[in-house]
Protein backbone atom coordinates (compact mmCIF):
# COMPACT_ATOMS: atom_id res chain seq x y z
CA UNK A 1 0.00 0.00 0.00
CA UNK A 2 1.56 3.30 -0.98
CA UNK A 3 0.87 6.74 0.39
CA UNK A 4 -1.64 7.61 -2.30
CA UNK A 5 -3.80 4.62 -1.46
CA UNK A 6 -3.48 5.40 2.23
CA UNK A 7 -4.56 8.97 1.70
CA UNK A 8 -7.43 7.96 -0.57
CA UNK A 9 -8.75 5.43 1.89
CA UNK A 10 -8.74 7.97 4.68
CA UNK A 11 -10.21 10.65 2.48
CA UNK A 12 -13.03 8.38 1.36
CA UNK A 13 -13.67 7.31 4.93
CA UNK A 14 -13.95 10.90 6.12
CA UNK A 15 -16.11 11.87 3.15
CA UNK A 16 -18.51 9.08 3.98
CA UNK A 17 -18.54 10.24 7.57
CA UNK A 18 -19.57 13.70 6.41
CA UNK A 19 -22.27 12.31 4.13
CA UNK A 20 -23.87 10.09 6.74
CA UNK A 21 -25.32 12.88 8.90
CA UNK A 22 -25.88 15.06 5.88
CA UNK A 23 -28.18 12.47 4.38
CA UNK A 24 -29.36 11.22 7.72
CA UNK A 25 -30.60 14.61 8.90
CA UNK A 26 -30.82 16.60 5.71
CA UNK A 27 -32.79 14.04 3.72
CA UNK A 28 -34.14 11.50 6.18
CA UNK A 29 -34.62 13.84 9.15
CA UNK A 30 -33.28 11.28 11.62
CA UNK A 31 -32.67 13.93 14.23
CA UNK A 32 -33.06 11.76 17.28
CA UNK A 33 -30.47 9.32 15.99
CA UNK A 34 -27.90 11.93 15.10
CA UNK A 35 -28.69 14.36 17.85
CA UNK A 36 -29.17 11.97 20.74
CA UNK A 37 -28.28 8.36 20.10
CA UNK A 38 -24.97 8.85 18.31
CA UNK A 39 -23.47 11.34 20.80
CA UNK A 40 -24.43 9.18 23.77
CA UNK A 41 -23.02 6.05 22.16
CA UNK A 42 -19.83 7.87 21.22
CA UNK A 43 -19.28 9.29 24.68
CA UNK A 44 -19.92 5.92 26.24
CA UNK A 45 -17.43 4.29 23.87
CA UNK A 46 -14.91 7.00 24.63
CA UNK A 47 -15.14 6.65 28.39
CA UNK A 48 -15.37 2.88 28.50
CA UNK A 49 -12.70 2.54 25.84
CA UNK A 50 -10.22 4.72 27.67
CA UNK A 51 -10.83 2.95 30.96
CA UNK A 52 -10.43 -0.47 29.39
CA UNK A 53 -7.31 0.46 27.47
CA UNK A 54 -5.56 2.17 30.37
CA UNK A 55 -6.40 -0.63 32.76
CA UNK A 56 -5.15 -3.09 30.20
CA UNK A 57 -1.82 -1.28 30.14
CA UNK A 58 -1.83 -1.12 33.90
CA UNK A 59 -2.36 -4.88 34.09
CA UNK A 60 1.13 -5.42 32.69
CA UNK A 61 3.83 -4.54 35.18
CA UNK A 62 6.96 -2.47 34.71
CA UNK A 63 9.49 -5.17 35.55
CA UNK A 64 12.60 -3.07 35.13
CA UNK A 65 13.55 0.50 35.75
CA UNK A 66 14.43 1.70 32.28
CA UNK A 67 14.36 5.51 32.13
CA UNK A 68 16.13 7.05 29.16
CA UNK A 69 18.62 9.26 30.91
CA UNK A 70 19.12 12.53 29.12
CA UNK A 71 21.67 14.12 31.41
CA UNK A 72 24.20 13.63 34.15
CA UNK A 73 23.36 11.14 36.92
CA UNK A 74 23.25 12.07 40.57
CA UNK A 75 26.60 11.05 42.02
CA UNK A 76 29.08 13.21 43.90
CA UNK A 77 28.15 16.55 45.38
CA UNK A 78 30.75 18.17 43.15
CA UNK A 79 29.35 16.79 39.91
CA UNK A 80 26.48 18.85 38.56
CA UNK A 81 23.43 16.64 38.51
CA UNK A 82 20.86 17.01 35.74
CA UNK A 83 17.80 17.02 37.98
CA UNK A 84 15.14 17.06 35.30
CA UNK A 85 16.63 15.01 32.50
CA UNK A 86 18.05 12.40 34.80
CA UNK A 87 15.79 12.50 37.84
CA UNK A 88 16.80 10.74 41.02
CA UNK A 89 13.41 10.91 42.69
CA UNK A 90 9.74 11.76 42.39
CA UNK A 91 10.12 15.53 42.21
CA UNK A 92 12.48 15.29 39.25
CA UNK A 93 10.21 12.83 37.51
CA UNK A 94 7.18 15.05 38.00
CA UNK A 95 9.01 18.02 36.56
CA UNK A 96 10.32 15.91 33.69
CA UNK A 97 6.80 14.66 32.95
CA UNK A 98 5.38 18.18 33.11
CA UNK A 99 7.95 19.30 30.55
CA UNK A 100 7.23 16.22 28.47
CA UNK A 101 3.44 16.50 28.53
CA UNK A 102 3.01 20.25 28.46
CA UNK A 103 5.99 21.32 26.37
CA UNK A 104 6.94 18.22 24.35
CA UNK A 105 10.52 18.48 25.55
CA UNK A 106 11.72 15.35 23.77
CA UNK A 107 10.33 16.50 20.47
CA UNK A 108 12.04 19.84 21.03
CA UNK A 109 15.36 18.02 20.71
CA UNK A 110 14.51 17.11 17.16
CA UNK A 111 17.10 17.70 14.46
CA UNK A 112 17.17 17.02 10.76
CA UNK A 113 19.89 14.99 9.13
CA UNK A 114 21.76 16.74 6.35
CA UNK A 115 23.83 14.24 4.43
CA UNK A 116 26.24 15.46 1.78
CA UNK A 117 28.98 13.80 -0.18
CA UNK A 118 31.99 16.05 -0.56
CA UNK A 119 35.45 15.67 -1.99
CA UNK A 120 36.79 14.90 1.45
CA UNK A 121 34.21 12.24 2.13
CA UNK A 122 30.67 12.29 3.49
CA UNK A 123 29.54 15.14 5.66
CA UNK A 124 26.84 14.71 8.24
CA UNK A 125 25.07 17.62 9.85
CA UNK A 126 22.20 17.73 12.26
CA UNK A 127 20.22 20.80 11.39
CA UNK A 128 17.84 22.92 13.42
CA UNK A 129 14.34 21.48 13.10
CA UNK A 130 11.73 22.83 15.45
CA UNK A 131 8.81 23.01 13.04
CA UNK A 132 7.39 19.63 13.96
CA UNK A 133 7.61 20.56 17.62
CA UNK A 134 6.02 23.93 16.97
CA UNK A 135 3.20 22.54 14.85
CA UNK A 136 2.53 19.79 17.37
CA UNK A 137 2.44 22.28 20.20
CA UNK A 138 0.18 24.70 18.31
CA UNK A 139 -2.10 21.88 17.27
CA UNK A 140 -2.52 20.39 20.73
CA UNK A 141 -2.96 23.69 22.52
CA UNK A 142 -5.38 25.02 19.92
CA UNK A 143 -7.39 21.85 20.28
CA UNK A 144 -7.41 22.21 24.04
CA UNK A 145 -8.49 25.85 23.92
CA UNK A 146 -11.18 25.11 21.38
CA UNK A 147 -12.44 22.24 23.51
CA UNK A 148 -12.52 24.44 26.60
CA UNK A 149 -14.21 27.25 24.70
CA UNK A 150 -16.97 24.79 23.83
CA UNK A 151 -17.74 24.64 27.52
CA UNK A 152 -20.02 27.58 26.91
CA UNK A 153 -22.30 25.01 25.36
CA UNK A 154 -21.70 22.46 28.08
CA UNK A 155 -22.12 24.51 31.20
CA UNK A 156 -24.81 26.76 32.59
CA UNK A 157 -24.02 29.24 34.01
CA UNK A 158 -20.88 29.65 31.94
CA UNK A 159 -17.78 29.56 34.15
CA UNK A 160 -15.38 32.47 34.19
CA UNK A 161 -12.47 30.67 32.56
CA UNK A 162 -14.51 30.25 29.39
CA UNK A 163 -15.08 34.00 29.14
CA UNK A 164 -11.42 34.59 29.79
CA UNK A 165 -10.37 32.11 27.10
CA UNK A 166 -12.82 33.62 24.65
CA UNK A 167 -11.62 37.13 25.17
CA UNK A 168 -7.97 36.08 24.88
CA UNK A 169 -8.60 33.88 21.91
CA UNK A 170 -10.72 36.49 20.17
CA UNK A 171 -8.61 39.49 21.06
CA UNK A 172 -8.18 40.51 17.43
CA UNK A 173 -11.87 41.55 17.52
CA UNK A 174 -12.19 41.28 13.80
CA UNK A 175 -14.26 39.17 11.48
CA UNK A 176 -13.07 36.26 9.47
CA UNK A 177 -12.79 38.25 6.23
CA UNK A 178 -12.71 41.98 5.54
CA UNK A 179 -16.02 41.67 3.73
CA UNK A 180 -19.32 43.14 4.60
CA UNK A 181 -21.24 40.66 6.63
CA UNK A 182 -18.16 38.85 7.80
CA UNK A 183 -17.24 41.41 10.42
CA UNK A 184 -19.01 39.45 13.12
CA UNK A 185 -18.52 37.30 15.04
CA UNK A 186 -14.88 37.93 15.76
CA UNK A 187 -12.48 35.18 14.76
CA UNK A 188 -10.72 32.95 17.21
CA UNK A 189 -6.98 32.63 16.77
CA UNK A 190 -7.08 28.96 17.75
CA UNK A 191 -9.50 28.14 14.93
CA UNK A 192 -7.02 29.36 12.38
CA UNK A 193 -4.00 27.96 14.20
CA UNK A 194 -5.59 24.54 14.48
CA UNK A 195 -6.37 24.39 10.78
CA UNK A 196 -2.91 25.64 9.89
CA UNK A 197 -1.18 23.18 12.20
CA UNK A 198 -3.20 20.20 11.01
CA UNK A 199 -2.56 21.20 7.41
CA UNK A 200 1.14 21.49 8.17
CA UNK A 201 1.18 18.07 9.82
CA UNK A 202 -0.51 16.58 6.78
CA UNK A 203 1.74 18.32 4.27
CA UNK A 204 4.82 17.37 6.25
CA UNK A 205 3.69 13.78 6.33
CA UNK A 206 3.62 13.56 2.56
CA UNK A 207 6.47 16.00 1.88
CA UNK A 208 9.15 14.38 4.02
CA UNK A 209 10.06 11.11 2.25
CA UNK A 210 10.58 9.23 5.48
CA UNK A 211 7.25 10.09 7.07
CA UNK A 212 5.53 9.50 3.75
CA UNK A 213 6.97 6.00 3.77
CA UNK A 214 6.00 5.13 7.32
CA UNK A 215 2.52 6.67 7.27
CA UNK A 216 -0.46 4.36 7.47
CA UNK A 217 -4.11 5.09 6.69
CA UNK A 218 -4.66 5.49 10.42
CA UNK A 219 -2.20 8.38 10.38
CA UNK A 220 -4.06 10.31 7.69
CA UNK A 221 -7.53 9.46 8.95
CA UNK A 222 -7.43 11.45 12.21
CA UNK A 223 -5.86 14.40 10.41
CA UNK A 224 -8.63 14.47 7.84
CA UNK A 225 -11.25 13.89 10.47
CA UNK A 226 -10.00 16.83 12.51
CA UNK A 227 -9.77 18.97 9.38
CA UNK A 228 -13.38 18.11 8.57
CA UNK A 229 -14.40 18.75 12.14
CA UNK A 230 -12.69 22.14 12.14
CA UNK A 231 -14.11 23.05 8.75
CA UNK A 232 -17.65 22.20 9.81
CA UNK A 233 -17.20 24.27 12.96
CA UNK A 234 -15.83 27.25 11.10
CA UNK A 235 -18.56 27.04 8.48
CA UNK A 236 -21.13 26.97 11.21
CA UNK A 237 -19.69 29.96 12.98
CA UNK A 238 -19.17 32.26 10.01
CA UNK A 239 -20.96 31.05 6.94
CA UNK A 240 -23.84 28.69 7.58
CA UNK A 241 -25.16 29.93 10.86
CA UNK A 242 -27.45 27.90 13.04
CA UNK A 243 -29.54 28.80 16.04
CA UNK A 244 -26.95 28.29 18.75
CA UNK A 245 -29.40 28.85 21.57
CA UNK A 246 -31.17 25.73 20.42
CA UNK A 247 -27.81 23.98 20.17
CA UNK A 248 -26.99 24.79 23.75
CA UNK A 249 -30.40 23.68 24.85
CA UNK A 250 -29.89 20.36 23.12
CA UNK A 251 -26.40 19.87 24.54
CA UNK A 252 -27.45 20.75 28.06
CA UNK A 253 -30.38 18.40 27.66
CA UNK A 254 -28.01 15.62 26.67
CA UNK A 255 -25.80 16.37 29.65
CA UNK A 256 -28.80 16.29 31.95
CA UNK A 257 -30.07 13.07 30.35
CA UNK A 258 -33.25 14.71 29.06
CA UNK A 259 -32.64 16.15 25.60
CA UNK A 260 -35.51 18.25 24.32
CA UNK A 261 -36.85 17.03 21.01
CA UNK A 262 -38.02 20.55 20.34
CA UNK A 263 -34.52 21.93 20.13
CA UNK A 264 -33.52 19.14 17.72
CA UNK A 265 -35.86 20.61 15.12
CA UNK A 266 -34.55 24.14 15.02
CA UNK A 267 -30.91 23.37 14.19
CA UNK A 268 -29.36 23.25 10.72
CA UNK A 269 -27.74 20.17 9.18
CA UNK A 270 -24.24 21.58 9.48
CA UNK A 271 -24.51 21.22 13.23
CA UNK A 272 -25.35 17.55 12.92
CA UNK A 273 -22.35 17.04 10.67
CA UNK A 274 -20.15 18.72 13.26
CA UNK A 275 -21.64 16.68 16.06
CA UNK A 276 -21.30 13.44 14.14
CA UNK A 277 -17.65 14.07 13.34
CA UNK A 278 -16.72 14.77 16.94
CA UNK A 279 -18.69 11.68 17.95
CA UNK A 280 -16.69 9.59 15.51
CA UNK A 281 -13.45 11.14 16.72
CA UNK A 282 -14.04 10.35 20.37
CA UNK A 283 -15.42 6.89 19.64
CA UNK A 284 -12.36 6.16 17.50
CA UNK A 285 -10.03 7.58 20.12
CA UNK A 286 -9.58 4.58 22.44
CA UNK A 287 -8.85 2.22 19.58
CA UNK A 288 -6.26 4.34 17.87
CA UNK A 289 -2.89 5.94 18.19
CA UNK A 290 -4.69 8.90 19.74
CA UNK A 291 -4.30 6.97 22.97
CA UNK A 292 -0.83 8.52 23.11
CA UNK A 293 -2.69 11.13 25.13
CA UNK A 294 -2.91 8.62 28.01
CA UNK A 295 0.11 6.58 27.05
CA UNK A 296 2.63 9.37 27.43
CA UNK A 297 1.94 9.39 31.16
CA UNK A 298 2.75 5.69 31.43
CA UNK A 299 5.92 5.63 29.36
CA UNK A 300 8.53 3.82 31.47
CA UNK A 301 11.44 5.56 29.79
CA UNK A 302 10.11 8.89 30.99
CA UNK A 303 8.15 8.42 34.20
CA UNK A 304 10.77 6.55 36.21
CA UNK A 305 13.63 7.98 38.19
CA UNK A 306 17.13 6.76 37.57
CA UNK A 307 17.58 5.42 41.07
CA UNK A 308 17.89 1.70 40.56
CA UNK A 309 21.37 1.60 42.08
CA UNK A 310 20.21 3.04 45.37
CA UNK A 311 16.52 2.15 45.58
CA UNK A 312 15.60 -1.42 44.84
CA UNK A 313 13.12 -1.89 42.02
CA UNK A 314 10.92 -4.97 42.29
CA UNK A 315 9.92 -7.12 39.36
CA UNK A 316 6.65 -8.80 40.34
CA UNK A 317 7.23 -11.81 38.11
CA UNK A 318 10.87 -12.27 38.98
CA UNK A 319 11.67 -15.97 39.10
CA UNK A 320 14.77 -17.90 40.07
CA UNK A 321 16.97 -18.94 37.18
CA UNK A 322 19.50 -21.67 36.87
CA UNK A 323 22.98 -20.29 36.53
CA UNK A 324 26.36 -21.93 36.25
CA UNK A 325 27.55 -22.05 39.85
CA UNK A 326 31.07 -21.69 41.12
CA UNK A 327 31.02 -25.32 42.26
CA UNK A 328 30.25 -26.52 38.74
CA UNK A 329 32.96 -24.25 37.43
CA UNK A 330 35.58 -25.44 39.89
CA UNK A 331 34.62 -29.05 39.32
CA UNK A 332 35.42 -28.61 35.67
CA UNK A 333 38.66 -26.66 36.03
CA UNK A 334 39.99 -27.71 39.46
CA UNK A 335 43.23 -29.32 38.30
CA UNK A 336 44.03 -26.47 35.95
CA UNK A 337 43.32 -23.92 38.64
CA UNK A 338 45.53 -25.62 41.19
CA UNK A 339 48.28 -25.90 38.62
CA UNK A 340 48.06 -22.19 37.89
CA UNK A 341 48.20 -21.40 41.58
CA UNK A 342 44.60 -20.24 41.83
CA UNK A 343 42.88 -20.93 45.16
CA UNK A 344 40.19 -23.64 45.13
CA UNK A 345 37.45 -24.65 47.56
CA UNK A 346 38.16 -28.36 47.34
CA UNK A 347 41.60 -29.83 46.76
CA UNK A 348 41.74 -32.31 43.90
CA UNK A 349 41.75 -35.99 44.85
CA UNK A 350 45.25 -37.32 44.26
CA UNK A 351 44.06 -40.65 42.87
CA UNK A 352 40.93 -42.51 41.81
CA UNK A 353 40.41 -44.11 45.21
CA UNK A 354 37.21 -42.96 46.90
Amino acid sequence: MNFIVSILISLIAVSILVLIPWIGVGALDLRIIFGVVVPYAALLTFIAGIVVRVLDWARSPVPFRIPTTAGQQWSFPWVKHSRIDNPKGTVGVVVRMIFEVLLFRSLFRNTRLEYRRTEGGPKLDYEWEKWLWLAALVFHYSFLVIFLRHFRFFMEPIPGFVHLLESLDGFMQTGVLPLTGLGVPGVYLTDMLLMLAVTYLFVRRIYVPQTRYISLPQDYFPLFLILALGTSGILMRYFIRVDITAVKELVLGLIKFGPSTESLQGIGVIFYIHLFLISVLIAYFPFSKLMHFMGVFLSPTRNLSNNSRFVRHINPWNYPVKYHTYEEYEDEFRELMVEAGLPVEKQPQPSAEE
Binding site: L55, R65, M155, V162, V184, R241, T245, S260
Partner: protein, 158 residues
Protein backbone atom coordinates in the same frame (compact mmCIF):
# COMPACT_ATOMS: atom_id res chain seq x y z
CA UNK B 1 6.06 -2.63 39.77
CA UNK B 2 2.52 -1.72 38.76
CA UNK B 3 1.77 1.72 40.22
CA UNK B 4 -1.90 0.77 40.00
CA UNK B 5 -2.96 3.38 42.51
CA UNK B 6 -1.36 6.24 40.62
CA UNK B 7 -2.85 5.07 37.34
CA UNK B 8 -6.36 4.86 38.76
CA UNK B 9 -6.06 8.30 40.33
CA UNK B 10 -4.84 9.66 37.00
CA UNK B 11 -7.62 7.93 35.13
CA UNK B 12 -10.26 9.31 37.46
CA UNK B 13 -8.80 12.80 37.16
CA UNK B 14 -8.85 12.51 33.39
CA UNK B 15 -12.44 11.28 33.30
CA UNK B 16 -13.47 13.94 35.77
CA UNK B 17 -12.11 16.51 33.36
CA UNK B 18 -14.01 15.12 30.41
CA UNK B 19 -17.17 14.55 32.37
CA UNK B 20 -17.01 17.77 34.38
CA UNK B 21 -20.09 19.26 32.62
CA UNK B 22 -22.17 16.36 33.93
CA UNK B 23 -21.20 17.25 37.47
CA UNK B 24 -21.32 21.00 36.98
CA UNK B 25 -24.73 21.06 35.38
CA UNK B 26 -26.46 18.87 37.91
CA UNK B 27 -29.29 20.95 39.25
CA UNK B 28 -29.36 23.70 36.63
CA UNK B 29 -32.11 24.15 34.11
CA UNK B 30 -31.54 22.87 30.62
CA UNK B 31 -34.09 25.14 28.97
CA UNK B 32 -32.90 28.06 26.93
CA UNK B 33 -34.46 31.41 27.80
CA UNK B 34 -37.18 32.55 25.44
CA UNK B 35 -36.95 36.15 24.27
CA UNK B 36 -39.92 38.12 25.54
CA UNK B 37 -41.80 40.20 22.99
CA UNK B 38 -43.22 43.56 23.91
CA UNK B 39 -46.81 44.39 23.12
CA UNK B 40 -45.67 46.49 20.22
CA UNK B 41 -43.59 43.68 18.80
CA UNK B 42 -46.46 41.25 19.10
CA UNK B 43 -48.70 43.70 17.37
CA UNK B 44 -46.28 44.13 14.47
CA UNK B 45 -46.44 40.40 13.87
CA UNK B 46 -43.27 40.19 11.82
CA UNK B 47 -39.71 41.42 12.03
CA UNK B 48 -37.55 42.75 9.22
CA UNK B 49 -36.88 39.17 8.24
CA UNK B 50 -38.06 35.64 9.14
CA UNK B 51 -37.72 34.35 12.69
CA UNK B 52 -35.28 31.48 11.95
CA UNK B 53 -33.15 33.90 9.99
CA UNK B 54 -33.18 36.48 12.74
CA UNK B 55 -32.25 33.83 15.33
CA UNK B 56 -29.13 32.79 13.51
CA UNK B 57 -28.15 35.90 11.58
CA UNK B 58 -29.29 39.02 13.42
CA UNK B 59 -25.75 40.12 14.25
CA UNK B 60 -24.81 39.87 10.60
CA UNK B 61 -27.80 41.93 9.66
CA UNK B 62 -26.88 44.61 12.16
CA UNK B 63 -23.28 44.55 11.05
CA UNK B 64 -24.30 44.93 7.43
CA UNK B 65 -26.66 47.73 8.28
CA UNK B 66 -23.95 49.57 10.09
CA UNK B 67 -21.54 49.09 7.23
CA UNK B 68 -23.90 50.05 4.43
CA UNK B 69 -25.26 53.06 6.28
CA UNK B 70 -21.92 54.42 7.37
CA UNK B 71 -19.94 53.65 4.22
CA UNK B 72 -22.50 53.71 1.44
CA UNK B 73 -25.22 55.95 2.76
CA UNK B 74 -27.81 53.26 2.06
CA UNK B 75 -30.33 53.99 4.73
CA UNK B 76 -33.28 51.79 3.88
CA UNK B 77 -33.69 48.03 4.06
CA UNK B 78 -36.15 46.20 1.91
CA UNK B 79 -36.13 42.43 2.34
CA UNK B 80 -37.86 42.03 -1.02
CA UNK B 81 -35.39 44.16 -2.87
CA UNK B 82 -32.45 42.47 -1.17
CA UNK B 83 -33.78 39.09 -2.21
CA UNK B 84 -34.29 40.19 -5.78
CA UNK B 85 -30.92 41.87 -6.03
CA UNK B 86 -29.21 38.78 -4.77
CA UNK B 87 -30.64 36.90 -7.71
CA UNK B 88 -29.92 39.53 -10.32
CA UNK B 89 -26.56 40.76 -9.31
CA UNK B 90 -23.80 39.51 -11.54
CA UNK B 91 -21.12 40.90 -9.32
CA UNK B 92 -19.71 37.99 -7.35
CA UNK B 93 -18.73 40.15 -4.46
CA UNK B 94 -22.22 41.52 -4.13
CA UNK B 95 -23.76 38.10 -4.52
CA UNK B 96 -21.56 36.93 -1.71
CA UNK B 97 -22.54 39.91 0.35
CA UNK B 98 -26.19 39.26 -0.19
CA UNK B 99 -25.86 35.62 0.53
CA UNK B 100 -23.92 35.83 3.70
CA UNK B 101 -25.21 39.08 4.99
CA UNK B 102 -28.88 38.54 5.03
CA UNK B 103 -29.89 35.42 3.21
CA UNK B 104 -32.91 37.43 2.20
CA UNK B 105 -33.38 35.55 -1.01
CA UNK B 106 -34.92 32.79 0.98
CA UNK B 107 -37.44 35.09 2.56
CA UNK B 108 -39.65 37.18 0.33
CA UNK B 109 -42.32 38.99 2.34
CA UNK B 110 -45.63 39.49 0.60
CA UNK B 111 -45.79 43.14 1.41
CA UNK B 112 -42.99 45.27 0.10
CA UNK B 113 -41.99 46.93 3.30
CA UNK B 114 -39.05 49.24 3.71
CA UNK B 115 -37.28 49.70 7.03
CA UNK B 116 -35.07 52.48 8.23
CA UNK B 117 -31.71 50.89 9.13
CA UNK B 118 -31.22 51.81 12.72
CA UNK B 119 -30.66 49.81 15.84
CA UNK B 120 -32.04 52.43 18.10
CA UNK B 121 -34.89 53.72 16.02
CA UNK B 122 -36.04 50.56 14.31
CA UNK B 123 -35.01 47.49 16.29
CA UNK B 124 -35.34 48.98 19.72
CA UNK B 125 -38.56 50.66 18.79
CA UNK B 126 -40.31 47.30 19.05
CA UNK B 127 -37.81 45.49 21.25
CA UNK B 128 -37.54 48.08 23.94
CA UNK B 129 -37.04 45.40 26.58
CA UNK B 130 -33.28 44.83 26.17
CA UNK B 131 -32.85 42.80 29.36
CA UNK B 132 -35.56 40.34 28.44
CA UNK B 133 -35.16 40.33 24.69
CA UNK B 134 -31.38 40.61 24.20
CA UNK B 135 -29.48 39.96 27.39
CA UNK B 136 -30.91 36.66 28.53
CA UNK B 137 -29.88 34.77 25.43
CA UNK B 138 -26.60 36.61 25.15
CA UNK B 139 -25.76 35.64 28.70
CA UNK B 140 -26.93 32.09 28.11
CA UNK B 141 -24.51 31.83 25.18
CA UNK B 142 -21.78 33.81 26.87
CA UNK B 143 -21.58 36.50 24.21
CA UNK B 144 -21.04 40.17 24.91
CA UNK B 145 -21.99 42.21 21.84
CA UNK B 146 -20.31 45.56 21.67
CA UNK B 147 -23.49 47.34 20.44
CA UNK B 148 -23.67 49.34 23.65
CA UNK B 149 -20.13 50.61 23.41
CA UNK B 150 -21.58 53.30 21.11
CA UNK B 151 -25.33 53.04 21.29
CA UNK B 152 -27.20 54.20 24.29
CA UNK B 153 -28.96 51.50 26.17
CA UNK B 154 -32.66 52.06 26.12
CA UNK B 155 -34.28 52.87 29.38
CA UNK B 156 -36.68 50.14 30.18
CA UNK B 157 -40.11 50.63 31.60
CA UNK B 158 -40.62 48.63 34.69
Amino acid sequence: MYDGGKIIVGLIACLAFFLSPFIYDAGTAAKAPKPVLTEKAKEAGECVNSTPYMKAWHMHLLDTWRHTVVRNDERYYSPRREARMARLDKNLFDQWRHFVSDGARRYVPKEDKVYYKSLQETCLDCHSNKSKFCDECHNYMGVTPYCWDCHIQPEEKK
